[in-house]
Structure formats: structure tokens, C-alpha cells
């Protein structure tokens, strides 16, 4: 770790959550930690209440779809910020497509409400315990989750928009 603060956070989280810390890296100065999805709620709650780490601000929640990685097709990313130490960190949980459940953090941050609704709306990730998990930006009777990679944006018959020309080859989707 280049950033000493990040190292401190990582050490503290590893000490508290041990085997639940599945992976970690420092990406562009920001600490990324992958946790067991079932423990993410506890970890965020612990970070929020911790005297020294004092992670007081939820920056955003993002969903990501990785259709090719079997068993971990969906990621939920929580970006958090500790103003006391000015440390930003990213907590990730990977979910298999058969079981898209993760605990809500609306009890910890009121602002998580819409962020989780948005993630549900676009990726279909179900936040257990959310007070009002409905679609938010799309219409209520939509029957799919549009940010998933299988819903390509442009007409698939257009040659010039072929994914091969975008530097990747995932036509087998």
C-alpha cells in the first residue's frame, strides 16, 4: 500500500473480519476490499461506529454485472468516506446470479434508500430489509433489469457497433 492510511484501514478490517476479507488492493490510491456479502452490513456498521476509523459518509452504491465470471456475476460496490482521516474506501461484495440477495444498509445511512432502489432497478439486486424496494428511474411495469450486459444498447445487426471493434470479444453472451 502506498498510502499509510489505507494500510491502517486494511489492517484494522482484517483484524476484525479475518477470513471474511476475501481480497484487497489499492486502485488509484483508493482501498478496495472484497468481503463476504453476508458480512458487509456488519462491516459497514462496524466502520461507522469505530472511534478511529470513523467512516461517516456513504458516497454511493454501485452495481456491476460481470456475466462471464461464474458464481460472482454481480458486484455491489459501496464507496465510503471517512472525513476524520480523509480516507475513501470501496467495499465490494460479489453475488451469484441465482441468489441476488444482500442486506440493506438503510438502517445505517438514510441516503442508502434511493441508492439501493437504483441498484435494484438497474441490476435486480435485492436488498433484504429495505423499507420500500421498488423501481425508481424506470417505469414500474418494466420486466427486466436494463443495465445487465445482455441488454445491448444498439441494434445488434450493426456491423460498426460490433463488440469486437470495442476491444473485447464477448459475443457468446
Amino acid at each position: 500500500m502506498e498510502n499509510q492510511n489505507n494500510q491502517e484501514y486494511l489492517t484494522a478490517i482484517q483484524a476484525a473480519f479475518g477470513a471474511d476479507v476475501l481480497a484487497h488492493e489499492e486502485a488509484f490510491g483508493m482501498l478496495n476490499i472484497e468481503l463476504t456479502p453476508a458480512r458487509i452490513h456488519d462491516a459497514i456498521s462496524w466502520l461507522q461506529q469505530h472511534q478511529d476509523l470513523s467512516v461517516n459518509y456513504l458516497t454511493n452504491i454501485a452495481g456491476i454485472h460481470y456475466p462471464e465470471s461464474a458464481g460472482r456475476e454481480f458486484a455491489v460496490v459501496y464507496q465510503l468516506h471517512s472525513w476524520k482521516n480523509n480516507v475513501r474506501l470501496r467495499i465490494k461484495g460479489y453475488l451469484p446470479k441465482e441468489n441476488l440477495h444482500i442486506a440493506t444498509i438503510t438502517d445505517l445511512f438514510a441516503g442508502a434508500n434511493w441508492m439501493e432502489r437504483e441498484t435494484y432497478d438497474f441490476f435486480g439486486i435485492i436488498f433484504d430489509g429495505h423499507p420500500d424496494l421498488r423501481r425508481i428511474l424506470n417505469m414500474d411495469d418494466m420486466d427486466y433489469f436494463p443495465m445487465r450486459k445482455e441488454y445491448v444498447l444498439e441494434d445488434a445487426t450493426r456491423e460498426d457497433k460490433d463488440d469486437r471493434f470495442f476491444g473485447r470479444n464477448n459475443n457468446e453472451l
Binding site: 454511493n60 464507496q79 470501496r90 438514510a110 441516503g111
Partner: protein, 401 residues
């Protein structure tokens, strides 16, 4: 001060409760959002929001567009201050590819972003005046904002959706006309602004209308992940420009104004003071504008001059490669935040090395803080709900993305 919301709700007689639609196309919502209010007489008992009327799937669109084609999408987030969005996005890409930006470009960006902040806050504050019944004070700042738009026009050719700058710098240097117009703006704006300020800031009617309208405590604002002037009005001095300085903000001397009650009046006053501070920053940046190039040396991303493209093989190849997106990009995850007109505007970019982002998420401050609106207006009269809505400055483009 407003009544305790709990008392209002208990006092409500079901026979007197009416349901009314506030929006989606009511003029006082200043945008397309619906609020279904349950009211007992004038008092709001509960409200429910519907958003998404102008959702344009920017995050999905961005997954099929090369990086330079995403800049015009960012224009349409908070269209009252598009240059901040544009430059924030460009800085995100620059962070991913790891490039040193010349000091001159950083200062130029600061000048443009602060001009955009002034334009944004001017509109918001004058609209608060309109919703409190003061139309004259709405017209005064418009001639000033017009001057800012002329400055944008001089630098980018556009006024509202500016597509300002390029990855690596600006499309052109400050032109002589820009210098002249900026100098005259710096000279005339303070006077015009103080005139505007004197119409509202200590106006008895305006103060009576806005004090106590739509308050939020610092704790609740934090829990709701508020940022920007709305958070600062509640008394929390969080500003991305100070917390994580970008584009050389650490070089400038400015203060971060905070309010006390988090009500409409405090939000108004915080924005007014921020305009003065923005002006200070622009003056400092302009007076110390370093010599140098208006763009970084970045041939893989920065389009060569058009004249060269027609006459020079090398330039033609680079032009073709950039336009067709045949540029090598690093793999990685970047989060970059700037202080937008409404708060922390963040770009969470995941690159898999392809010519488009694998995933791009916009952290849109409006979307995040607008969810607190029902809590802020509970127990208040409808007229205060209108004021609260305009003072939190919800911009439909940023809300719905």
C-alpha cells in the same frame, strides 16, 4: 418555526385530508418531478415522490461510447453548470491514464468551473426569490449569467451544453475576446451581484418566508449523504475542493461558508457567499495565470489541429485513431469527485481496457439528497414546500441521469 410534524399528523382528521399532485408539470417544481402530497388544509402530512421522467439511461449509453464522446452526456446532468461536469469527467479519464496536466490548464479549468458555479448559484438563488414572490430579483442576475454564457461561448462555441474542454486540456486557449470579457465581468459583476443581494438578503418579507422553511439537521443531512451547499447550510463544512483538492484548488485562498439551521434562508445565504468566494478564486487564478500550453502533451487522446489533419500523415493517423477509439487504455477502477454546483459530483469509472467504459456510474448529488425532501417538508404549508424544492436546487437532468 414549524410545528412538530408528529403533532400535525396526529391532529389530522381523516375527513379533512386531501390528496394533491404537486407536479409533474407544475411551474413551481422547475422541472419534471411529481410529489403526491397528503394535506390537511395547508399542512403537509406526507408526500411521495416520483422521479425518472427524464431518465435518458446515461450510464447505459456511456457503455457504448468512446471516452471523448461521453463528455456531451455529462453536459446534460446538471445543465446549469455543465462545464463542471465536463471537466470533472475529463479529470476522471486523466486520472485513469495518468497524465500530468500543465499548471495553466489547471488554472484555466478553475476559472471556468468557478464561473459555472456562479451561474448555477445565481439561477438557484434568484429562483428562490421568484418562489417567494420577488420577480424583479430574478431578472437582475440574468444579464450577469448572460455574460458568463458569452464567456463559455468564446471558449467552446456553446452556451448551455458546453462540451467544454478535451481530455488533456482545452480545445483552444483563452482568446483575446475572452480576456477582455472576463476582465469586464470581474469589474462589473461584484456591483451587480451586491445589488441583487441587497434586494433579498435582508428583505423582511423574504426572510420571513424563508426562515424555518424546509430545515434539516446536520445529523440527518449527513445520514442522507447530502453534499454541497445544502449540507453546508446545515452547518457541515464539507467541500470536495478543500477535502480532496483537484486541479490546483490548494493554491487558492477561499473560505467555505456554513449555515446553522439548514433551512431555505441558510441555503440561500450559503450560495450567496459561495458566489463571492468563487469570484475571489477566479480573481486569484486569473491574476496568477501561468504561462504555458492550454493542453497536455497527449497525442493519443487529444485531437491534432484540423489544419494538420489535412496536411500531415501523422496527424491524420492520430485523428483517425482517436475518433475510432483505437487507443490503448489501462485497466482499472477510478473514482474522481469534483465539487459540482450541488455537491459532490463523482465519476466511478471501471475500464476493462476496451475503448468504452465497462461501467460508468455518476454520483449525482441531486439524486441522493432529493430523497430527503418528504422529511424536510413534513408539517409545513404547501408554499414552504415550493420554496424548499427550489432552494435545494434539484436539477431534473442530474436527478434522473
Amino acid at each position: 418555526m414549524s410545528q412538530d410534524p408528529k403533532e400535525v399528523i396526529q391532529a389530522a382528521d381523516p375527513a379533512n385530508v386531501a390528496t394533491i399532485n404537486f407536479g409533474p408539470t407544475h411551474p413551481s417544481t422547475h422541472g419534471i418531478f411529481q410529489n403526491i402530497l397528503k394535506v390537511d388544509g395547508e399542512k403537509i402530512i406526507s408526500s411521495e415522490q416520483t422521479v425518472g421522467y427524464i431518465h435518458r439511461a446515461f450510464e447505459k449509453l456511456a457503455e457504448r461510447r468512446p471516452y471523448n464522446q461521453i463528455t456531451p452526456i455529462t453536459d446534460r446532468l446538471n445543465y446549469c453548470s455543465s462545464p463542471i461536469n465536463n471537466i470533472g469527467w475529463e479529470m476522471t479519464v486523466e486520472k485513469l491514464i495518468g497524465v500530468d496536466i500543465p499548471k495553466r490548464v489547471q488554472y484555466m479549468r478553475v476559472i471556468i468551473m468557478e464561473l459555472a458555479r456562479i451561474a448555477d448559484h445565481l439561477i438557484c438563488n434568484s429562483v428562490i426569490g421568484v418562489d417567494a414572490g420577488a420577480l424583479t430579483s430574478f431578472f437582475y442576475p440574468f444579464s450577469e449569467r448572460e455574460k458568463i454564457y458569452e464567456l463559455y461561448e468564446e471558449l467552446s462555441g456553446a452556451r448551455l451544453t458546453t462540451n467544454m474542454g478535451r481530455i488533456g486540456g482545452f480545445e483552444r486557449d483563452f482568446t483575446p475576446v475572452f480576456h477582455q470579457k472576463l476582465k469586464s465581468f470581474l469589474k462589473t459583476f461584484p456591483k451587480a451581484f451586491e445589488e441583487f443581494d441587497s434586494m433579498l438578503a435582508r428583505n423582511r418579507i423574504f426572510m420571513d418566508r424563508t426562515k424555518g422553511a424546509g430545515p434539516i439537521s446536520a445529523e440527518r443531512a449527513l445520514s442522507y449523504s447530502f453534499s454541497g451547499p445544502n449540507l453546508r447550510a446545515a452547518g457541515v463544512d464539507y467541500d470536495v475542493r478543500a477535502m480532496n483538492p483537484y486541479s490546483s484548488y490548494e493554491d487558492f485562498d477561499f473560505i467555505i461558508p456554513v449555515g446553522v439551521n439548514g433551512d431555505t434562508y441558510d441555503r440561500f445565504m450559503v450560495r450567496q457567499e459561495e458566489i463571492r468566494q468563487s469570484l475571489r478564486i477566479i480573481t486569484q487564478a486569473y491574476n496568477n495565470l501561468p504561462e504555458g500550453d492550454y493542453k497536455a502533451d497527449l497525442p493519443d487522446f487529444y485531437l491534432p489541429p484540423k489544419a494538420d489533419v489535412y496536411n500531415n500523415m501523422e496527424a491524420l493517423i492520430y485523428h483517425f485513431k482517436i475518433v475510432m477509439g483505437e487507443t490503448e487504455l489501462p485497466v482499472g477502477e477510478v473514482y474522481h469527485a469534483v465539487e459540482g454546483g450541488n455537491g459532490e459530483l463523482g465519476y466511478y469509472l471501471i475500464s476493462d481496457g476496451g475503448r468504452t467504459p465497462y461501467r460508468l456510474q455518476f454520483r449525482r448529488p441531486c439524486f441522493i439528497y432529493y430523497q430527503a425532501y418528504p422529511e424536510m417538508i413534513k408539517g409545513l404549508p404547501i408554499s414552504d414546500a415550493v420554496l424548499t424544492l427550489s432552494s435545494i436546487n434539484v436539477i431534473a437532468g442530474e436527478l434522473d441521469a
